[in-house]
Symmetry: C2
Subunit: 224 residues, 2 copies
């Protein structure tokens, strides 16, 4: 006779922890729900009871830390805005407000924060209308808020040019975040990303230069 132990919220959190780790390590599609319930030591059907589906579980994983991440980013940006007087914060400060909370998550001793960051970085590149919607919903307000800040920091930049700069930057940022902890292997031992502050400062310097660079305008507006 197997005893039925009612754990309630514990079960939910155990599933979220296991899913965060496995999704971050192996990617969403490559992770099976059976491996998640095995790691969490719960029954297979518990996922469907608490979340409904694999995709809904992913959204719950994103939600758990995503709200806090968004709050920290807004908080930091607001602090920089307050300290900059009327002219708004510098580009470097805007980038720092966006990146520092994410990089800090990378150093979470439990490893869960790093896995979460890797997962988000990978999701930006994954196709499937399914969770592009969830992704936009999660990070849309952040993109809007930081886009507005960048627009003020780069006077005279067309909306279209700013989009491309943010687009290129998103690629570099996502690549850096999803590779968290793997740089030593990727660079054959040449480099290391264990010093998060170092990675942060270098990424900011790289992106700020690109943000300030004038992008060529093609077409009848400028001619050749």
């Amino acid at each position: 006779m197997i005893e039925t132990v009612v754990r309630g919220e514990d079960t939910k959190q155990a599933i979220l922890d296991a899913a965060e780790n496995l999704f971050g390590e192996q990617g969403y599609s490559a992770t099976s729900m059976r491996s998640i319930v095995a790691a969490a030591d719960v029954n297979l059907a518990a996922i469907h009871y608490h979340f409904g589906s694999k995709e809904a579980l992913l959204e719950a994983v994103l939600d758990r830390r995503g709200k806090l991440l968004e709050h920290e980013r807004f908080e930091l940006l607001s602090r920089f805005e307050a300290g900059a007087g009327g002219k708004g914060p510098e580009i470097e400060q805007i980038l720092e407000a966006f990146l520092a909370p994410a990089i800090r998550l990378t150093r979470d001793p439990s490893g869960g924060g790093r896995r979460f960051v890797q997962l988000v970085g990978r999701l930006l590149g994954e196709p499937g209308e399914g969770f592009r919607k969830a992704f936009t919903q999660q990070f849309g307000p952040t993109v809007a808020r930081f886009g507005a800040a960048l627009e003020r920091a780069l006077p005279g930049t067309l909306k279209e040019e700013l989009f491309w700069k943010m687009f290129f930057s998103a690629g570099a940022m996502a690549h850096t975040l999803r590779s968290a902890g793997l740089v030593r292997a990727l660079s054959d031992g040449l480099c290391d990303d264990s010093d998060g502050e170092m990675v942060l400062k270098r990424l900011i310097a790289f992106l700020a230069a690109g943000m300030r660079a004038p992008l060529p305008v093609i077409g009848p507006i400028q001619g050749s």
Copy 2:
């Protein structure tokens, strides 16, 4: 009585075409072999006969266009090197030699080239020791060749700093390539990437600025 038709090489190419399209559209893990054989109108076991496994099929897809892509990149870089005399090509030219052949593939009328480029861009972010090995094998020589060219174009740059610049650039490039044809949707109609030359020039300008920017050096080497 169903007739057995022997198609030989046709079957192999049909599978490669279908796999390229579906891997590029949906990603590797999310694409089932059954959907591939349905699109190619061949039997399920044909994949295993011609390629051996799903992962081997992926490598075959990468191989088919990858060799030509590498050749075009090397060719372009060599031409720039020949035209630059003893001092080597400019950063912009090196980036163009790397990116232009890939962007041009994006405009392939059949759509296969675009799907291939999307696939490669996505693979850079996917985990799994499995095809990181295949990926390195496919693009290792290219990275080495272009890294050497960049090193000469950026005198006085430490190997470590150069790695990070190439690392950030790889993220931006992969993001741009894997989003080929999706920018209109991603930007809510604000921008479009149907003009490949425009995307190319803007990406090069963005990256060249980052490449030239001095990255902060942390640690005892420079102090604060």
